[in-house]
Symmetry: C2
Subunit: 293 residues, 2 copies
């Protein structure tokens, strides 16, 4: 069983002996763990001697009217699952332990990269992520940290944070884990009714279709805007409310800027990325695709 | 002689063996060292096994039209001075080593505490300090860091940063070192003409006078606003342009808020704090004073 700590000072004390010689991996989570999280831990296990999983439903990354209060909290079940994949330490602080003042006066803003995608409907979300991830980095001082590709914009922002603030941490991206029907695993999937759950995999199917069309577009001359428009129509018809459905470079730049830079016709890494509401659940998904332009 | 590193990776490699067992102190400076800086290093020496002094004229904390280009850069002389006070490592990076993109997309803002005093005339200054100090914390990962009381608002902001971002670093405040005539030592004192240099100690004398008046005000019933007004008049008459001259609580709150909280008539720690231009030099000074209200 992993050792559980609720206090920053005790966790630091526990980790201190490993600092010089051993590699520490951090897996930050909000708990309510599913196989996607366990995959993060397995990846951490491959890259480090000591694996620290944090479980903290971070208030600063929830906006007004969002699901902070109803977000599922299942610590005992989480710890039992973590025990099966080789977790050394679980850090599960209270909000008071993490924030002596809420909101904290100091803020971290990731700049232009947050002005798009999720940042448009959740304008304070990534500032909250920036603060809590910085805190967890400073509390655990890991050598490596694992984040899921499912939250792709978050991943890009954290890579930027590590570069801009000179954190000595290697960020590892973990592939999306999917249900057998293709739906990306998420704690918020449990907000779906069973009828909605049957519809939900359509999101992933549309991403697959767009990726295939993108790969073909080079010789078929298809217009990307039209492809997206058709796809939006099908997603909406199925009962989703779309937050966004976009195709960007893998660095989340506009695709035209990416193509303009690509003067030597090198293969381009693009991302097809979506956020859409189905009933009470806001679902995220994305697919990386390499095109030869 | 201290070992000098210009690259983040080499400095980290050099410090790694000390991490588990020994205490590392960081003294961040912009170089052009005087006895005030050397006092910071002596204090670091008392608190740690390994002393790292950073020398970096940080572009992000200078505003447009400020003295970034003309700020004195004297690395060889600095290193020679540091050798006399027991510095283990000097970290002197280039701007490119510190910032791959300038300005960095990620920003740190310390909130309301920056809206006053120096923040009013230097609105981007403390954001730049926040970024560079966070980077140096992450590069050196010290156990303790020493900052001078002369930059009192900066010190308060860094203490807040450490709390809000959970840095495992003890911040030690070093007392102001003064010339024999009372002028606080500063690299920018060399911008003063010799005539201005003779006038400069008046700033400190006015702080002393205000501190004494504050201590008396309890039984003399003096009005603080009037005391400041009289003091401003004398400073301006001597040839200064005042940026600000204020009395705050030691936490940089308005004095009335501090007194309102003080329901048990406990002694109050106040700060008398000034910034004023004399010729080309912007001089800072301050004095902590305990009053019995």
């Amino acid at each position: 069983m992993p050792t559980i700590h609720h206090h920053i000072a005790y966790l630091r004390e526990a980790l201190k002996p490993y600092r010089s010689q051993q590699c520490i991996a951090l897996v930050p989570t909000m708990g309510n763990l599913h196989d996607g999280h366990l995959e993060l831990v397995r990846l951490a296990r491959q890259h480090a001697d000591i694996v620290v999983v944090t479980i903290f439903v971070n208030p600063t990354q929830f906006g007004v009217g969002e699901d902070f209060d109803s977000y599922p909290r299942t610590l005992d079940a989480d710890v039992a699952k973590l025990a099966t994949v080789g977790t050394d330490y679980v850090f599960a602080p209270t909000s008071d332990e993490m924030y002596s003042v809420l909101p904290p006066p100091t803020s971290i803003h990731a700049g232009a990269i947050t002005d798009q995608l999720c940042g448009q409907t959740r304008p304070t979300h990534f500032d909250g992520v920036g603060i809590v991830v910085s805190k967890l980095f400073n509390i655990v001082q890991p050598d490596t940290a694992i984040f899921g590709q499912k939250d792709y914009q978050q991943l890009a922002i954290i890579k930027q944070l590590v570069r801009d603030l000179s954190y000595p941490i290697e960020i590892i991206s973990a592939p999306i884990v999917r249900a057998i029907d293709g739906l990306a695993l998420s704690s918020r999937n449990q907000y779906l009714s069973s009828a909605e759950r049957n519809i939900a995999p359509l999101l992933q199917q549309e991403l697959q279709r767009l990726a295939k069309q993108l790969k073909n577009s080079e010789h078929l001359g298809l217009d990307i805007e039209i492809l997206i428009k058709q796809s939006r129509k099908r997603i909406i018809s199925a009962g989703f409310n779309i937050d966004y459905l976009e195709i960007k470079t893998a660095q989340l730049e506009p695709i035209t800027a990416g193509l303009a830079k690509n003067t030597n016709n090198a293969p381009q890494d693009l991302i097809v990325i979506v956020a859409a509401w189905l009933g009470r659940a806001r679902l995220l998904d994305n697919l990386l695709v390499t095109v030869h332009s």
